[in-house]
Symmetry: C2
Amino acid sequence: MTEQVSAAEPRYELDRDTTCVPRPDEPGVFATTLSPDWAFGMGLNGGYLLALAARALGASLTQPDPFTITAHYLSASQPGPAEVRTEVLRTGRTLSSGIARILQDGVPRVHVTGSYGDLAALDPEVRTSARPPELPSVEECAARSAFPASFRGAAFMDRSEQLLDPATAGWLTGRPSGRGEIRAWWRLADGRAPDPLALLLAVDALPPTGFDLGLRGWVPTVELTVHVRARPAPGWLRVALSTRNLAGGFLEEDGEVWDSAGRLVAQSRQLARAPRRRAG
Amino acid sequence: MTEQVSAAEPRYELDRDTTCVPRPDEPGVFATTLSPDWAFGMGLNGGYLLALAARALGASLTQPDPFTITAHYLSASQPGPAEVRTEVLRTGRTLSSGIARILQDGVPRVHVTGSYGDLAALDPEVRTSARPPELPSVEECAARSAFPASFRGAAFMDRSEQLLDPATAGWLTGRPSGRGEIRAWWRLADGRAPDPLALLLAVDALPPTGFDLGLRGWVPTVELTVHVRARPAPGWLRVALSTRNLAGGFLEEDGEVWDSAGRLVAQSRQLARAPRRRAG
């Protein structure tokens, strides 16, 4: 089942920039444009690309929400026209699975596999031992003005607000904690309420944990998996990232996203290449 | 590049039962047989199916080792003939990515996406804050004889040895800890040394964490992702599983595998459906 994903004049930036238009002659294939407005560091933000692919995949599957979704980043996406080719792997009563491939001029950029369900249909019971990160108030956290120029100038920083916990912001002043943790309040800058697509962005929206380990340089994502566990309540999200194992030139980055109602709404893990350069 | 994956008379069970024979007329397509010898609970073990697909994919890619690999379990695999269809997504200098699909009579069973590299070529540096689980000695852990009959009788239990930490084995005597943790020593029963394929098995080889949460019944895996971080040293592996968020009828299960040299060799996470039945 393929439905129209594009909306007339989307009100919000994320909806505008993930618009995918079905090709009438090719079922499951969508035309889209990768927007330069989500650039961060060396390229387009990986969470943005995942959200775009997830939206196209959701339009091809029976259920709306990505319960678990994995992206492999194959080559550097460029702002401009792109194609999303989806394939339904299985259609089930509660879960359906499929693939979405982002290509540019036939070159594969991102390969996404997801299993989708309906978050609204889930059993409301929660038995969690996870506790939300204790963050200082929004006012006490480090805002954009504290970030280095390479961050402040990134287009992505116009799309979202990230207010860093001072305990994980020591690297801004040359004193990384060494623990490999980054925590922040996060929301979209234009007032769009969080939803599962925004959660896919949130887990990849903060400075890399490598900065808190004293590493410099970008951390290219090889693979990113996100479990969306609940539909988030409106308001600020709390995002906590941590790295435990930096080894062999690679590191994992685990993420948790908590909503304003204190619920764990997403869990993520990525495998990334560690930067070669050391701080100092 | 497709090479011969089948070996003449493999010496070990895992190698024998993951043998994939390339179809000469169809590049990247392999004939295989899903062995009933890896049945566990309601079906074939998910780690076994992942290892089999990973082996076929490794034969289709330039690099040998799955650095990050994700399986979506689409329908119940049955012992018997199957086909593995691989597709190369990208070939790179240090990492290559591809897909492997296990099908039976044309029905998709498992869909696997992986990015492969060469573990032997990695920077030897390790900067990890992760600590291995503290397990009692092999002699002090709960062996197969302590398991309920439904476990003891599983074919999988003939293939591997799992010695449970008594601290996470309370459910065997009706006293689950409620923490959602399972820890064990683990190895293949026939003396085969661990390697990346065995690690894909190890992360899905223990009783589900749900048992330690007081849940009964099987926990069908929706999706399983494994990061293989190093080639394991010979000997026993230590496997630690934990669940923090049981909510909405789903739970995540995080896994770590440590080798005999004290190195974190694999990290895993799966999303699974929680069983409906409560213990008691």
